[in-house]
């Protein structure tokens, strides 16, 4: 009851749910992100694309506060994350979920226990309710009930990602961050995961921030795409807009290549 929608009301309508301004991130002398601006609107699925090693994952980690940044500000739900007390952060943590690349499930816990970790940490739910809710999340991400008692090492890569997504959704967050959700999945599994993200986004009204390589998922699910190149966001737009008028060598080779045409044709 302490957080919920209160701040959302305070935030005036139409403001971006995530606002990044002038973000700079350096590792020693190596600048990964420089003076980067990015807005994520409420209720959209934003795909962040860019070359391998171009800082997509670093940007994600900066936004969710896993990395210290050298300059700039990150506002989420209209609140400055860089100048926030630990207690406030703890509360904000319940309002987003993160799916790491390989699920990042805790190896010593079963899938069901993994999903219940955020519930235990942030809420005082009676065990039967927590069990039922965890089973519900499991079913929502398309995992069979038998998976509940399994350990992450007994799951396939795709199942681990689904279980990781179920954990990210455990507290019904408003924003979900996905780090390469379809990498390492076969095309059928990847397409199913895309549909899953789309469906969950519709039913739960989520805002989705998705780092990806996968042209298929960009055309299938993304409302908007932000292109990261040379440490900054060089363009944003719908996948179609970027394909029609690339205006940038990297975007052109990415969106107008053979594979992009195939992905386009498939949707």
């Amino acid at each position: 009851m302490q957080n919920g929608s209160d701040t959302q009301i305070a935030k005036s309508q139409g403001d971006p749910i995530i606002r990044v301004r002038g973000l700079t991130k350096r590792y020693g002398a190596h600048t990964v992100l420089e003076n980067l601006d990015l807005d994520v609107e409420e209720g959209e699925i934003l795909g962040v694309v860019g070359a391998s090693g171009g800082g997509k994952s670093v940007l994600l980690r900066c936004i969710i506060g896993l990395e210290n940044i050298q300059a700039g500000r990150v506002e989420i739900f209209g609140r400055d994350m860089t100048a926030m007390s630990d207690k406030a952060r703890f509360e904000i943590d319940t309002r987003w979920g993160v799916l790491f690349q390989d699920g990042a499930l805790f190896g010593g816990l079963t899938v069901l226990q993994n999903i219940q970790v955020p519930m235990r940490e942030h809420l005082k739910l009676p065990q039967p309710i927590a069990d039922e809710l965890a089973h519900l999340k499991l079913s929502m991400v398309g995992l069979a009930p038998e998976a509940a008692g399994k350990y992450p090492s007994e799951l396939s890569g795709g199942m681990r990602k689904r279980a990781g997504l179920a954990r990210a959704l455990a507290l019904d967050p408003e924003i979900v961050f996905l780090d390469e959700p379809t990498s390492g999945l076969d095309p059928i599994g990847a397409a199913a995961f895309d549909r899953l993200i789309r469906r969950l986004q519709r039913t739960l009204g989520l805002t989705v921030y998705m780092v990806t390589h996968d042209l298929d998922s960009i055309f299938a699910v993304c409302d908007r795409v932000a292109v990261l190149d040379g440490g900054r966001i060089v363009r944003t737009g719908t996948p179609d807009e970027l394909r029609r008028s690339p205006d940038h060598p990297w975007i052109e080779s990415y969106f107008c290549g053979e594979r992009a045409r195939a992905a386009m044709a498939a949707t």
Binding site: G4, S5, T7, D131, L136, M140, E146, G149, L171
Partner: protein, 396 residues
């Protein structure tokens, strides 16, 4: 922070979630409206869950014909809240009422139908087993594990012997580089730590012997005690335990991580025998290194004893070595050294075998490294006990 100040004033306005019952007549039968209001989110469901039962009792006593669940006052609904509403609806359904949702926002209805479509067949819990049955089952599993371990170690020893025989027949296949590398890493680099530990333990044994034998007037015999003990037992055991902890675990970690990354499988497809490439050089290196380390360790034990003897027995350096020369016979020395190649084989085999057993995950690597060290030390000590009995029987 502008957002924060606004928050507190908003707080009073946002309702806590609740359920309220209203009754109205329609065509002679009673229709109940359950009016849900407030925020139905995962943060609040615990408080709401208790309200359901009372509500049902009230409904039943009212002899209701139908029930509407009115959502017009719900401010926010997430999956947990929707799940709870569905629970209520399910409860009504099972008691013969036909619940329907009214006045819900569109997104609420999508969410509710999504939840409704989920068949929540919660798996029955694993059969509860009693404490005693559980204990017996554990004992059985562990026994089975020990037997399996014995079988697999024996099998591995056999496979190693076969491979070793093949390498003997075709000596050019022996991996000299790898062999020398392992001699350096398991032997040369272990010298300082083995020296240090044996020096201290030797000194401690001498000191304890001197103090406790003094009450029998036999403190001088602590030199005998140390001489026999360090050559026959302490040097061997300390060194073997140290090497098992240092190198056995390193073998398991190295081979295990290769197993994890499918490097072992890649080797097989390239026509390389992992046994020949990975295991033989390691085990042979240990068999060369462990006797040398044991020798160094035993001598350091004696030196440590000599230092302590100076303090506690007043024995000067040359007198100490004079006496030691009478006590420390070749017989004792050989009795100790005899055991070292066997200990080396045990450590090498257990280390490599555990590495080969590693599965796909990092947890499995960690647990196998641990069990490699534990098993190697355990078997080395058992072996040592068997040797001690055997050697005393044959009079060495």
């Amino acid at each position: 922070m502008a957002g924060m100040s606004a928050t507190s004033s908003e707080m009073a306005m946002t309702g806590t979630p609740s359920l309220r019952l209203e009754r109205h007549e329609e065509g002679g039968s009673a229709i109940f409206s359950v009016i849900a209001s407030g925020r139905w989110t995962v943060h609040d469901v615990a408080a709401l869950a208790g309200q359901l039962d009372g509500l049902l009792a009230e409904l039943k006593s009212g002899r209701a014909a139908g029930v509407e669940i009115n959502l017009s006052h719900v401010e926010r609904l997430d999956t947990a809240g929707a799940w709870l509403l569905e629970q209520a609806a399910e409860l009504f359904r099972s008691s013969g009422l036909k619940p329907s949702y009214v006045d819900g926002r569109e997104e609420f209805m999508i969410l509710l139908s999504e939840i409704q479509s989920r068949s929540l067949a919660v798996q029955p819990e694993d059969r509860k087993i009693g404490a005693i049955t559980g204990l017996l089952a554990d004992v059985g599993r562990t026994t089975r594990g020990i037997l399996d371990d014995m079988a697999s170690i024996t099998g591995f020893l056999g496979a190693l012997t076969v491979t070793f025989g093949r390498v003997l027949m075709q000596p050019w296949r022996f991996r000299w580089t790898s062999f020398i590398h392992h001699i350096e890493h398991t032997g040369l680099r272990a010298v300082p730590i083995v020296c240090l530990i044996c020096l201290f333990i030797g000194a401690v044994i001498m000191q304890q012997g001197a103090i406790h034998l003094r009450s029998y007037g036999a403190s001088n015999f602590s030199v005998n005690l140390l001489g026999v003990l360090s050559l026959r037992e302490i040097g061997v055991l300390l060194t073997a335990i140290m090497v098992a902890g240092r190198s056995g675990s390193a073998f398991t970690a190295a081979i295990g991580s290769m197993k994890m990354r499918e490097e072992i499988d890649a080797m097989r497809t390239l026509g390389l025998d992992p046994m020949e490439v990975l295991v033989v050089p390691r085990v042979l290196a240990l068999m060369v290194v462990l006797p040398i380390l044991t020798f160094i360790g035993s001598i350091m034990c004696l030196i440590g004893g000599g230092i302590a003897a100076g303090y506690y027995l007043g024995l000067d350096w040359t007198a100490y070595w004079d006496r030691m020369q009478d006590i420390a016979s070749v017989k004792h020395f050989m009795a100790g050294m005899l055991k070292t190649p066997f200990a080396a084989v045990v450590i090498g085999i257990v280390g490599c075998l555990e590495g080969m057993k590693v599965g796909g995950s990092a947890e499995s690597l960690g647990s196998h490294v641990t069990s490699s060290v534990v098993k190697a030390i355990f078997i080395v000590i058992i072996l040592d006990a068997i040797f001690a009995m055997f050697l005393s029987e044959v009079g060495i």
